[in-house]
């Protein structure tokens, strides 16, 4: 086992643990903080899998912008953490059973495929190559994404508007 594999498994454990902690917190603010750790772990994973550019984007957009937007809205809502209804207890048994069944089935089918067991060859992609590739092959998709971001901005302004005061949603 070389250093990359060791780093991969350590990062995987970090991501899984912080995500489990995040989705079980009562306070939404706590879960957002643990989710930032989880997304920083994903950025580490992207770097290990050969893309420093996407690792930087993951830190800036996911762990930065999106999580700060969540914090803004949580602070605006003033919701008491104790009032959340619990998931009905009688549903937990069947839910866990069905989930484990499908997850173990997927794991068995993935891990039993012999062609999938070959170790991945590490190849770093520089931002320059990546940018050339995206803007030569997928320029239309980039334009559509930018249009989508614009529509998100319009929808955020329209839906977040308070009557008469013109208050805007952040971003």
């Amino acid at each position: 086992m070389n250093i990359y594999a060791l780093l991969f498994y350590a990062t995987a454990v970090l991501i899984t643990a912080s995500t489990v902690i995040a989705i079980t917190r009562r306070q939404a603010v706590h879960s957002v903080v643990f989710l930032v750790i989880s997304f920083l772990g994903s950025a580490m994973l992207f770097y290990l899998l050969g893309s420093p550019f996407l690792a930087a984007l993951q830190v800036i957009i996911y762990a930065g912008a999106i999580m700060v937007l969540f914090l803004f809205v949580i602070m605006m809502l003033k919701v008491d953490a104790g009032e959340e209804n619990k998931f009905p207890r009688r549903f937990w048994g069947p839910a866990i059973l069905v989930g484990l069944f499908f997850f173990s089935g997927a794991c068995v089918s993935v891990l039993s495929d012999p062609s999938i067991a070959v170790p991945l060859k590490l190849e770093m992609v520089t931002p320059k190559e990546f940018g050339r590739f995206v803007f030569e092959q997928y320029w239309l998709a980039i334009e559509l994404i930018s249009l989508l971001l614009f529509l998100g901005l319009v929808a955020g302004i329209h839906l977040g508007r308070d009557k008469g005061r013109g208050e805007e949603d952040p971003e």
């Binding site: 899998l49 996407l54 969540f70 809205v73 919701v79 992609v125 955020g156």
Partner: protein, 101 residues
Amino acid sequence: MIVPYGHVLVLAGIIFCLGLTCVVARRNLIMVLIGVEIMLNGAAVAFMGSGLLWQRLEGQAFVLFILGIAATEVSVGLALILHAYRRSGSVDPDTYSVLKG
């Protein structure tokens, strides 16, 4: 040489399942949206591993598109949550019963 592709896929599956659990089990619209984010993150990890397996740049390009879509989805979703909270005073989706006959 790093880990086998299967291990990356299993990790992506674990992240996706955790997000799905969050969406289904929590009764708070903000936590539901956080669960959707976790699921998108799991899909991005799977795309990264696939791109490395076939030595193609498409996997990383789709991670970029997932980032853009996640940003849009969060801004619209949070604006909708704010709108619903102002109209009903709650972020529990079980209390929304305006359409009930």
